[in-house]
Structure formats: C-alpha cells, structure tokens
Amino acid sequence: MVEDDFTFIPLSNIDIETLIKIIEYMKKHAEKTDSKEEDIKEFNKDFVKKTLNELFVLVLAANYLHINSLMKLLCQSIADRVNDKTPEAIRNIFNITYDFTPEKGKDY
C-alpha cells in the first residue's frame, strides 16, 4: 500500500542490529556482476562468521522477509556446524539437553 511516497512494512519482530546486517547483505548482493563473483563469495564467507544466536536471529528475519538467497546461505552455514558431529558433540555445541524418555532415542 503506497501512500505519500513511502510504504510501511511492519518489522516488529526484527531488532535494529539484525536489520543492519541484512541491509549490508542486500547492498552487497545488489552490486552483483560477473566480475564480482569472487568478491561476493568472500563476503558470504565472512558474513556467516557469526555466533550461533546471531545466525538464528538472522535466519528468522530472512525467513520473515522472504529473502531466499540469504536463507540458503544461513541454513547452509548452520548445517555446516551440525554436520559430522556425534550426538554428544551436537548437544555440547548447541547446549541441548537430552530429553528422550527411556524407550526413544536410538543411535545409528
């Protein structure tokens, strides 16, 4: 709905820091041309060097805003942190508690 040259988009569930990061990402990717591919790859690599919580918040925001490329990048970086880990390691890294009742919970 456009009124008076600007549009309101409710962002009540995204804090200002996250929004700044997202804008940073969007700006960088808006510059995308063929010659800048390496550049953008480097940017992506550095972009995901954040704490787990920051990544979570970013993923939720990107999901809300329907930014597919950012979603892919963030999901992949979280998946990379889960990949190749034993269940104990996963619980340690992500601070997750074992909450199976005795019947459930099987290892492969």
Partner: protein, 430 residues
C-alpha cells in the same frame, strides 16, 4: 523447553537445515533430542540418502527406515561399501570391487571414514535390501528415484536388482560396482524398466570373465534408452562389434569408459565420429588396461582424430600396465607411446588431452631404482612430456612410468587422477 530457547528455530526452519545434512549427520542430530528427532523424520531430509560406508555397517532395516521416511520424494539412494576415503561415485581407474571384510565385534564404532573400525555381524545388506523401493503397491518410493548407486553388496543378485529397477522408472543415473550380477541380465533390466537413463556405470565383480552380454541386449539397450550420455562398462568381456553397436546406437553419447575390458581390440572405432555420424559427440574415451587393445587400432584412431573426426573429443586414456598389442604377434607387446603423433596432435587438436602410461619394457623383471621419485618398488623413473598451448588450458601428457598401484582418489565423474597435471585438464561434467 530448554532446547527451544537454545535452538531458536521452529520446526520448518530446522527441517530446512536438516535437509542440508548428509545422512549420517542427520541420524546423529536425530539422536540429540526429541525435537531434532521429530524434525529429522520429515521426508524433506531424505531426498538424498547416502548410506555408503567403508566397512559394512548398514543393514536392511536402516535402508527400509530411510526409504520409508522419504515417502514419495527420494531422489537419490547410495548404498554399500567403498574401501578407502572415497565415498562418492568414482571415475578412478582402479576397480572398486572388494570383498566385504570379515566383521569383528568392537565395543563401539565410529562413523568416521578415516578411523575405520569394523562393525557388528548383523550389519550386512542382504538380497532384499532394495525391497523397500518397491513397497506400497501403486505409489512406490522408487517412482521418483533419479540416482541409484550400489557398491559391493555381495548378496544382491540379479533377481533382486531387476525387481528394484522395475520400481524406478525415473532413474537417470545408475552405478553398480561389485555386485554378483551378470551384464546381460542387468542391461536387459535397464532397457526394460529405465528408459530415461542417462548414465550407466557398471563394473564387473568377475573381471574379464563375464561375457554374457550379447548383441540382442545391446540392441535393446540402444533402442529403449536413447538418452544415454555416459556409459562405463568395466571389466567385462566386450567384443568390438558389440561396442560398435553401442556407440553407434546412442546418439547422445559423450562419455565412454571401457577400462579393463577383454576382447576389444579398438577396431570398433573405425569410421566412427565423422561429421554427423553417431559417436561424433564423444568427449571422453577411456580404454585403460584393455588387454587386447591394439597399437595399430589406436594409431588409426588418432589419424581419424587428426583428420577432423571426433571433433568434441577432449580426453583419451589408453594407458595399459601391460602395454598394447603389437602388430602381428599377439604375444608381443608395445610399451612405447611413440606411435602417438604428439607434435601433430598438439598442433591440430590442442584441446585434446591424451594419457598413455605404459611400463618400461621388461620392467616387471628388472626393477631399477631411481633416487628421485618412487613410492613403491614397482615405480620406475618417469619421463613426462608436457606442453601447453596458449589459447586453452589443456595439454597433452605422456609418461613412460610404471603403473602406480596406489589408487588416486577419483573425483566425481571426472577422469582418472593419473594425469599429473590434472589441474589443467578439461573435466567433463556429466
């Protein structure tokens, strides 16, 4: 409740993340907590099922569970044992067939490929391991399967394989290594049930002894599977006239690997690949260790290449640890790549990479050591001739070195790593 705080993602996003994990990590994640277990059961996580292990560790129940969880969406299923660090489909020229090692009991085993501990006795795949693909009557899980790779599953036989293939009409990519199946029956099944197939990689478990492939099967395959672009038949007894039928018949064929084939002499290459003839789309031709490959046929082939045939060819491998068959006497072997017109090839076909490794004559009797490079006693000094052309980053390499017995790690769908300057080789992506 606690977990919902530390892992802030709702289930749909968690499932998105999990769908990017490899199968073993997915199982470990599922064992971390109940929320993860629920997310990991979503079909989206089972689009690509990779159950390849270094030692036998996966049994039928695991396969069944995975396929069942995948519902109607499994697109790729890889199953079996592959020795060594290689866990994906291989383009290396070393045969992947191996006997399943005897299992011994250990206290706990890790899933880490590098520390290969041996699993328990019950972790064996039997002949019915692929039965889940045909389950459920009409809506079979195999209906959407595009890729099926099977390695060294000793107990899987032709009947079971045929049953599985009959459930996979959408199959595009089939890899079979080290199964006790005959070439004729397998290729017949493929031609009957998998008309969309684009890639076949088939390595015999009985190197050189399977000659069941007959002409009618070749014709059936060619008529029913017009989309085939990559064909690897390794370790079979393959005659020239059958090879010819195959190459002429598949209009889209780009990649051929007939390594370790017995009986073919190279005569099948005569008069192929000119202009609009079939075979002219060929990009890669691998005839490694073909015992009966004749030097004269290869020379004739290279003349055709120089004359302009096989315009798309960019990789040729005729290395042979026993040399090529010499003119006239079948018992006499040729060990020198000197019949290859190097200079003219570089000139007129700069994009073509030719790999021709032969042992030095008499090398198996006379072991000489060079203080330079050698990995094992069988390695002899190698002389590498390389030159690059400026316009493209490809070149030719010819080496007279002993055939190294160390398997180089084959990368997915690319040519053998014996080419020492593999960085610059044009890899064919399939």
């Amino acid at each position: 409740m606690h977990n919902g705080v530390v892992w802030a993602l709702p289930s749909d996003l968690t499932i998105k993340v999990f769908s990017l994990l490899d199968t073993q990590s997915l199982c470990y994640a599922a064992a971390a907590c109940s929320f993860f277990q629920n997310c990991a059961a979503d079909p989206a996580c089972y689009v690509d099922i990779d159950l390849i292990t270094v030692v036998p560790r996966v049994n039928n129940a695991v396969v069944a569970t995975m396929v069942q969880r995948a519902g109607k969406v499994p697109q790729s299923l890889k199953l079996g044992c592959v020795p060594g660090p290689l866990a994906s489909s291989s383009g290396s020229s070393q045969p992947l067939v191996n006997c399943i090692r005897k299992s011994t009991d250990t206290a706990r085993f890790s899933w880490n490929d590098k520390r290969s501990r041996q699993g328990k006795e019950s972790s064996i795949l039997t002949r019915s391991c692929l039965a889940p693909l045909s389950a459920n009557g009409e809506s079979t899980p195999g209906a959407c399967l595009r890729r099926l790779h099977l390695y060294n599953i000793e107990r899987l036989d032709s009947t079971s394989l045929t049953a599985a293939l009959s459930a996979c009409p959408s199959l595009l990519d089939l890899e079979i290594v080290g199964l006790n199946v005959e070439s004729r029956q397998t290729l017949e099944s493929i031609s009957t049930f998998c008309p969309l197939i684009e890639r076949i990689f088939f390595e015999s478990s009985k190197t050189g002894r399977d000659d069941s492939l007959k002409l009618p099967t070749c014709n059936d395959l060619v008529n029913n599977c017009p989309h085939l672009s990559s064909l690897s038949l390794r370790g079979f007894r393959l005659h020239d006239y059958k090879a010819r039928v195959l190459i002429k018949g598949f209009r889209k064929l780009r990649y051929i690997d007939f390594s370790t084939s017995y009986s073919i002499t190279g005569a099948f290459l005569k008069n192929l690949g000119g202009g609009s003839a079939s075979g002219s789309l060929l990009q890669v031709l691998i005839l490694r260790d073909c015992m009966h490959l004749k030097e004269v046929e290869v020379a004739r082939f290279l003349e055709a290449v120089l004359a302009g045939d096989f315009g798309h060819l960019n990789y040729l491998d005729i290395s042979n640890r026993e040399g090529l068959v010499s003119e006239g006497d079948r018992n006499h072997r040729c060990y020198s790549p000197s019949f290859i017109p190097v200079a003219r090839l570089l000139d007129e076909r700069p994009n073509l990479c030719v790999l021709a490794e032969f042992p030095l004559e008499g090398s198996f009797n006379d072991i000489e050591f060079d203080s330079g490079d050698m990995d094992s006693e069988m390695n002899l000094p190698s002389h590498l001739i390389m030159s690059t052309s400026d316009s493209s980053a490809s070149f030719m390499s010819i080496s007279e070195s002993s055939y190294s017995s160390d398997p180089s790690s084959g990368s997915d769908d690319s040519s053998s790593g014996y080419d020492e300057s593999s960085d610059d080789v044009d890899h064919v992506s399939i």
